[in-house]
Amino acid sequence: MNFLLEIGTEEIPHWMIPGALKQLASMNLFGATPQVDATPRRLVVRASNLPERTPDESQIIKGPPLSAGDKAAAGFAKKQGVELSAMTKVGDYYELRKQIPGRAVRDILAETLAPTILGIQWPKTMYWTGGKTGSRFIRPIRWIVALLDDQVIAFELAGVKSGNITRGHRILGSSSIPVTFDSYERELRKNFVILSADERRQKIVTEISQLGAKLDADLIETLTFITECPTAIRGDFGPAFLELPAEVLTTVMRHHQKYFSVESAPGKLAPHFVAVMNTSGDPEGLVKRGNERVLKARFNDARFFWDVDQHKKLADRVEDLSHVTFQAKLGSYLEKTNRIVKLVEELGGNARAQRAAYLCKADLTTEMVKEFTDLQGQVGGLYARHQGEPESVSKAIYDHYKPLSMEGEIPSTHEGQLVALADKLDTLRGCFAVGLVPTGSKDPFALRRAAQGVVKILVEAKLDYKLDDLVTGDLREFLLDRIKYFFREIRGFKYDEVNAVLASGCGTLSDVEARLTALAVVRPTEDFEPLAASFKRIQNILKQAAFEPNAVLDQALLEDGPERALHADFVRVRDAAKVETYPAALGQIASLRPRVDTFFDKVLVNAKDERVRNNRLTLLHNLLTEFSTIADFSEIVTSGDQK
């Protein structure tokens, strides 16, 4: 049988729709595969080949033991709603073989569809009928189409009865359209609704490309789920506005108006924009003119902000930051500014880096940033340049919020890297000091992102600060987590390699990266994993012996043969490793493998003579500590390990 469910709603926020569809796609349709679709006003599930009935099932229910007698069995039968004669004796027990007849799928759906619909999880829900105990959904449900082989599956939800009537586009379509499984999508199309998100997306991409828009994947996605009938148009604005910074123009177009920008050459804005309407056309140019008027007003505002902001230079705004709270317990942005300047100085930043640090938060008092919050930092950089600050200062201010994400770029100049690093470190140190630590998914001060930024800058800019010089305590652990994450997820090292290298200590992150790279190179070589296994064995032996390193190795106590040979090689490799590059040193260490193997084959560590025993443990201990400075091999998961 064919199944069609359409949940007709008022406009659902675009960003929530894909999540809801994912949930509907896992709906139980008795073996049939749900095909899901959506527009802002409808969530749709379709499927073919649903069975008419669920299969009959037999169930075996164990009853009382035979020894309990017929009376107990009769009681049991009564409870199950059957005669005693229906019971059988199997082994030492009564048993009931119950036949559970299958049910009509239509009946089951009539019972389960309402709870299934209301069971969709949303980031935020509302009630609209029946008071606060009423049904909750993302937006009011206004109609429901529920058909099984084109017969209505009857149920009611929040006062809405299911039926076979859908609605078309709000303005262009009919509000009462009878449909069948086969006619559904076609009828919608006739009524100016493109059901398939893929088709709407494709239509948007094709049309905006023809109009010369600069593609923007996020915006395309937003518009795909904000429209039922997307149609692109192109509009113009006065070329004089191109004097405003491109960042400002693009932000107004993209974030405030959901327009695509148009470029005349790469990186060069043209005085046009592309908008996507939720209607089929603009034959009289009314929509184009309306949008142009709105954009002009917005650009005028921006120009007004720019002009007003120039009345007071950034440098003169720094003191005003005493009125802008950074965080109640951490004081104002002026205090933060002073801390950042000091930190940049401690990090060895030059005068220009310190100047940039001093100015970097001043744009928070400008009209432009109050209006376009996303442009914080960028506005400061643009103003600094305009007000004659050196290029390295303005660039550092411009970039200091970077990286904005794990994929984002870090600041491109050394000054910018230091200011960005200091800003983030200050936030982290401050928040950790007053107990504002992220828990679970809650991270209101975006500390994870700040920490990730610190790691990314340290690694990618190859800055030689040691982790322990920058952070301590819980914050150190927090950063270590981010460091692990970075090397695993972004750099693609194996998790045990990351653990092994960090277990040997975390100096500078460029050193960590170098050790990791070396480890990843040596790991596939034939001697490496067996040696790692041996190291693990050494660690266990030392642990079992509760060995406390207290003596210097006594060469005289070494037994000739494998033990002395191991020691000799140990000394040779140790001295060589000190002057080698990491890969070469690791190669050397791996070359010890045959010696170690022979040692364990031929030499009894647990010697009767306590002095010999201790001497052997000391040898093993030295081996372990000396060769664990690049990576702690015992962290490497080898084929012998159980995960």
Binding site: E10, E11, P13, H14, P40, K124, M126, Y127, W128, T129, G131, K132, R139, P140, R142, G159, R170, I171, L172, S175, I226, T227, Q257, Y259, A275, M277, N278, T279, D282, P283, E284, L286, V287, R289, G290, N291, R293, V294, L295, K296, A297, N300, D301, F304, H323, V324, T325, A328
Partner: protein, 293 residues
């Protein structure tokens, strides 16, 4: 082309035909039509209500001395409350746009998520901003909570930004160029007010006195709130007058804010002071309604 006031007449007529009481503006300063007792108090409790009114709304910090073509110290809202919200509310709303001469088939209408929240009123709702050809012309909200109280009947609130809407209809780029009535521009009626109040709000309002006034109105409000419980004849108790004190406090807060007298740190504290009054008054009103019923 309709004048500003003709458009107003048509909108009022439209909602009159749909059973709404057409109220006149409230006479205490408010920052938005939502704050009028006709909305803030009437949405509470189980009694259905339908009302529409134009509310001049004062936002001192938004003043621009009459120099910015789109920003005003005082703008006008047409506020519509339908409690409970009818099922076809969005169609009714779109009908109101057609009633003022918009052929919607020639325009682009979008409902974009915009949930409303007022920390000073302890109120929030779910809704959209309605975009007409890229211009926001209406805020639409299903109230969920008001004065900290979950609502029994979810009302729909429709707030038309009248200057923007009419500027759009008349095709003018500055609100001051709107034709108010034949031969009279918006600037003729309101420009002096924008200029003078910007000067007062930003430059001349006496900050110390404003703080004192805020304290006085707050004290009056608290005193009233405290007297309710032991007051014998609940029906006579001046809850409505108590609420006026809340509005005074809210407006004084906005003035102090425009004057730059409230630091970001203090801000949270003052908002809480006002919210406590609003929440306290809402509670009394809800209780009084029950008593009366």
């Amino acid at each position: 082309m309709d004048s500003f006031q003709q458009t107003l007449f048509k909108l009022k007529r439209y909602w009159d035909e749909r059973g709404a009481i057409i109220q006149e503006p409230y006479d205490v300063e408010v920052g938005a039509g939502t704050m009028c007792p006709e909305t803030f108090l009437r949405v509470l409790g189980p009694k259905p209500y339908r009302v529409a009114y134009v509310q001049p709304s004062r936002r001192p910090a938004d003043g621009r001395y009459g120099e910015n073509p789109n920003r005003l110290y005082k703008h006008m809202q047409l506020q519509v409350i339908l409690k409970p919200s009818p099922d076809d509310i969005l169609d009714q709303y779109l009908g109101s746009l057609e009633a003022i001469g918009l052929d919607l088939s020639k325009h682009d209408i979008k409902f974009e998520e915009d949930n409303w929240e007022s920390p000073t009123l302890g109120a929030w709702g779910i809704g959209w901003q309605v975009m007409l050809d890229g211009q926001e012309i209406t805020q639409f909200t299903y109230f969920q909570q008001c004065g900290g109280i979950d609502l029994d009947l979810v009302p729909a609130e429709i707030t038309y930004g009248l200057e923007r809407l009419v500027a759009f209809l008349q095709g003018v780029e500055s609100v001051y160029d709107i034709e108010w009535t034949r031969g009279v521009k918006y600037a003729d009626v309101r420009l002096a007010e924008e200029l003078q109040f910007s000067v007062y709000n930003f430059e001349m309002a006496n900050v110390d006195r404003l703080w004192r006034l805020l304290g006085e109105y707050e004290a009056e409000c608290k005193e009233l709130l405290a007297k309710y419980e032991d007051y014998p004849d609940k029906q006579r108790f001046p809850v409505l007058a108590t609420y006026d004190q809340v509005l005074k406090c809210s407006h004084l807060f906005n003035l102090l804010d425009a004057r730059g007298a409230i630091s970001v740190t203090e801000r949270v504290g003052v908002i809480k002071r006002v919210r406590d009054l609003a929440v306290g008054t809402a509670k009394l009103w809800a209780d009084q309604q029950q008593e009366v019923a």
